[in-house]
């Protein structure tokens, strides 16, 4: 049970976002730009995967399965593929460029200072633009916020992973918004 009376029984981040709609709307706006906006050279699948990977490293059940299911939806893959990336992205069947970005995201998860110039260099050599590196770092940083918000307030999360998979197409269609929280 959540540590505070959220006055609603929605799972995960949706509970506190409804509890405090002023900040909820802004957090949704940030998620919409970073993850759903099509004006981005990183695919929606890759951006969701970066979020899912960081959430997995932060051991946040709700976020890693919401965003893992989103990546799964965009990739048209199965759950096993997403799990293989979370478990060991270096050996997963993904592009070398995405591996280099996940490596940067993994360092950001530990601490901003953990990102080494060699990692940035490697990503650039594999074709990553400054914009893509910026977005990777900000997505990873934002999930370090979202994950702490969700677990720091001890919100509840559905245990059945299929629930997350079933909701993904709707979220992919509608994007992130305060109004979408109660659907």
């Amino acid at each position: 049970m959540a540590y505070i009376d959220l006055q609603n029984d929605l799972p995960g981040i949706r509970g506190p976002m409804i509890y405090r709609p002023e900040t909820g709307a802004i957090l949704n706006e940030l998620a919409e730009i970073l993850l759903h906006d099509e004006n981005n050279t990183l695919s929606r699948g890759d951006r969701e995967m970066i979020g899912a990977y960081v959430s997995s490293e932060n051991d946040c059940f709700f976020c890693q399965h919401v965003h893992g299911a989103m990546a799964q939806h965009y990739y048209g893959s199965d759950m096993h593929f997403i799990d293989s990336i979370k478990k060991d992205f270096q050996r997963a069947d993904i592009s070398e460029k995405l591996k280099s970005l996940l490596s940067i995201a993994g360092s950001v998860q530990k601490g901003g200072k953990q990102v080494r110039p060699e990692q940035i260099e490697a990503a650039k050599n594999l074709g990553a633009s400054d914009r893509e590196i910026h977005d990777t770092v900000l997505i990873a940083a934002a999930f370090c916020m979202f994950n702490r918000y969700v677990d720091g307030l001890n919100t509840w999360a559905p245990e059945d992973r299929q629930v997350y998979v079933d909701r993904a197409p709707m979220r992919a269609r509608d994007g992130y918004s305060q109004a979408g929280l109660v659907k």
Binding site: L27, L30, C60, I104, S107, D130, D135, M145, Y149, L153
Partner: protein, 185 residues
Amino acid sequence: MPHIQVDENLPGIRALLAFSPETAGPIGALAEILLRTSDSLSRVDRELIGMYVSYLNDCFYCNHSHGEIAVCYLDGDRKLVNAVRTDYKKAPISEKLKSLLQIAAKVQKSGKDVLPEDIENAKLQGATDHDIHDTVLISAAFCMMNRYVDGLAANTPLDMSSYPLRAKQVAEKGYGNHIFLTPQP
């Protein structure tokens, strides 16, 4: 040197916000609500929580920027801000703020580190659900801001006399795109 090409005349997060004005909007709005709201948590309390989390994350720019903003609200009492940074448990602040700083410090490590006892203690000291909510989100938001700044190796001014000037600007005008669109103080 920053990992990406940004305006070298802008310090810290300001250069990153200018690089990406789309995301600067919500980031500035989030800071404005979380740090400039004044209710059962004062602006000083809110800035001290952000400053302390930035200190724990070893983010020099955020630590000193928000410390100086707190100094502005405290009419120059830098001694109090330093006392919170060094050992908040011994600082001359309320027991309620101490209990909230304890929650913020747990969130800095991981959301899962917050224990029911931490929440219970804060409630015993008079913290409301709203205070606890905002404390957790302020701490979480600084875990984002600090990583954004250091993860891209943003320029960190080492001239300490520049921090009070920028702090005064924020204390007077708040957060928002003006901090990178108007000339630097």
